[in-house]
């Protein structure tokens, strides 16, 4: 259902872009109004989401991290997986953000010989996830040549490295292939792995299909159906220097599809799971040092005057609420169930 919905949504978006390319009167909507709207929604939306997250208190350090915590001097601490200092936390965050440390720990459970359950390592998701994210970053940075004027210094180095093997003309970029291969894996995984398919929603398929469509149209424009790049760059520089121009008629519809879908991505970004770009930095299990008993941690609500007026749900009340059920489950009770008919006001007596 989610898959069908996503496919239809992408198809509708592509048709919209083709229509936009076919009707010259609509060109300013697609190359001026929409990009400004998309950039504004992206930047403001990401900030709003992060500020919303920042309003949640994290009252204690979550220490369920793999690796030995700091303990007695003769027990070796795992300083990167279970850090107790800020420097260690920075190291752990760097491993997480740059190399997906948590995903590297991924395991799978399988039934062997009938009913024996076996756990094993599985690195495929980590490998293709890493391939996708790094390729996407490099592809994005390379795109500075299309919209930055002057072009930043790093673009040339990236292009040289990315086209290291000098295959074909224009030279094939390895990250272009990597991006599409990784996205294809991530997409097929959601279709052919029954467990993953069961938990996949439209919000999982849609961004993958959107990125696949963006990468495909980009690759088509670079290697197959070429278009007037100088005219495209003039449009892009016009937008970013706040002197938008009317796009030349030599720009092909492929560009309109590519560009429109990128705008959709920017708009979709802050309101979707793609916000893990900001969220990874706010993961409490990653960004807090394990110094629960080494440092004083103040209750974040301690200065809130309403905090002490809050009604506290005590254990007595909890047991009152669930006593009969707890008795039935064989749990130990502080007060026994009073064996009186319930109609006779048992609850009053308990309280």
């Amino acid at each position: 259902m989610g898959l069908l919905f996503s496919i239809i949504a992408i198809a509708v978006l592509i048709i919209l872009a083709i229509a936009g390319a076919a009707i010259p009167g609509l060109h300013p909507v697609f190359t001026v109004a929409l990009p400004y709207l998309a950039i504004a929604i992206f930047i403001v939306g990401v900030i709003v989401r992060v500020l919303k997250w920042a309003k949640s208190p994290v009252p204690f350090r979550i220490t369920t991290t793999s690796g030995q915590e700091k303990s007695l001097p003769w027990i070796k601490q795992n300083k990167l997986d279970n850090p107790s200092s800020s420097l260690g936390v920075i190291g752990r965050m760097a491993l997480e953000v740059l190399f997906f440390r948590s995903l590297f720990r991924n395991t799978k459970a399988e039934l062997k010989e009938g009913t024996k359950i076996a756990y094993g390592e599985t690195k495929w998701l980590w490998a293709f996830g890493l391939l996708f994210h790094w390729s996407f970053l490099i592809v994005f940075l390379r795109h500075f040549r299309f919209f930055a004027d002057p072009i930043p210094f790093f673009v040339k180095y990236l292009e040289t490295l990315d086209g290291f093997f000098q295959i074909g003309v224009p030279i094939v970029y390895l990250t272009g292939i990597g991006l599409l291969v990784a996205l294809t894996y991530l997409f097929l995984r959601r279709i052919f792995d029954a467990k993953v398919k069961y938990i996949s929603l439209a919000s999982d398929y849609f961004p993958l299909l959107l990125l696949i469509a963006i990468a495909t149209t980009g690759i088509i424009m670079r290697y197959y159906v070429k278009t007037d790049l100088v005219a495209i760059k003039q449009v892009a520089v016009g937008i970013l220097s706040f002197h938008p121009i009317t796009p030349a008629e030599t720009i092909s519809p492929w560009f309109y599809i590519h560009f429109f879908l990128v705008n959709v991505l920017l708009i979709y970004f802050p309101m979707s799971k793609l916000m893990h770009m900001g969220g990874v930095f706010l993961s409490p299990t990653r960004n807090l040092a394990n110094n629960n008993r080494m440092a004083y941690h103040e209750n974040p609500w301690i200065n809130d005057e309403n905090y002490f007026k809050l009604h506290r749900h005590t254990y007595e009340e909890y047991e009152d609420e669930f006593r009969v059920l707890m008795k039935g489950a064989g749990l130990p009770l502080e007060k026994e169930v009073v064996n009186q008919p319930a109609k006779d006001g048992t609850e009053k007596e308990d309280k």
């Binding site: 930047i43 040549r145 030599t250």
Partner: protein, 145 residues
């Protein structure tokens, strides 16, 4: 809001990074000039039409290279007849055909290539005659002799 200092640092970094194309365009306006191509004054004919050449010239040169280097096919044909430009058989050669008319790399090739940050490896072998030392490239008067 909790940890507001760290959150604000993060947000500031986010804004700087993702608005960098905007402020780099502002800080150095118009440093990379928009292409200003000088077309040859004396020649009107080309091996293909303008729109095709604009988008696909690299494909064309690549095909020429393969034909000349790997198959020893040196001259252009059209409809099985030799393709003539300016009364001469057109050779599949960057130096002898393309650059006979478009003779100034800086005023023709480089205009778009620099603007779009394209560094074709044509010039690893081919020579820009305006930059080469005089004893490397025979000047046109030498050719006439």
């Amino acid at each position: 809001m909790y940890d507001s200092g760290k959150i604000l640092i993060g947000i500031v970094i986010f804004i700087i990074v993702f608005s960098s194309p905007i402020w780099t365009n502002w800080l150095n306006p118009g440093e990379a000039k928009t292409p200003d191509i000088k077309l040859p004054a004396n020649y009107k004919e080309c091996v293909a039409d303008k729109d095709y050449m604009k988008a696909y010239h690299m494909d064309l040169l690549n095909q020429w290279r393969d034909k000349v280097v790997r198959q020893d096919i040196r001259f252009l044909t059209k409809n099985n007849k030799p393709f003539m430009i300016d009364g001469q058989r057109a050779e599949m050669s960057l130096t002898k055909t393309c650059m006979r008319c478009h003779d100034n790399k800086a005023e023709f090739c480089d205009q778009c290539h620099n603007y779009m940050d394209v560094t074709p490896y044509c010039w690893n072998c081919h020579i820009d005659k305006y930059k080469a030392p005089k004893d490397v490239v025979p000047n046109e008067e030498d050719n006439k002799q």
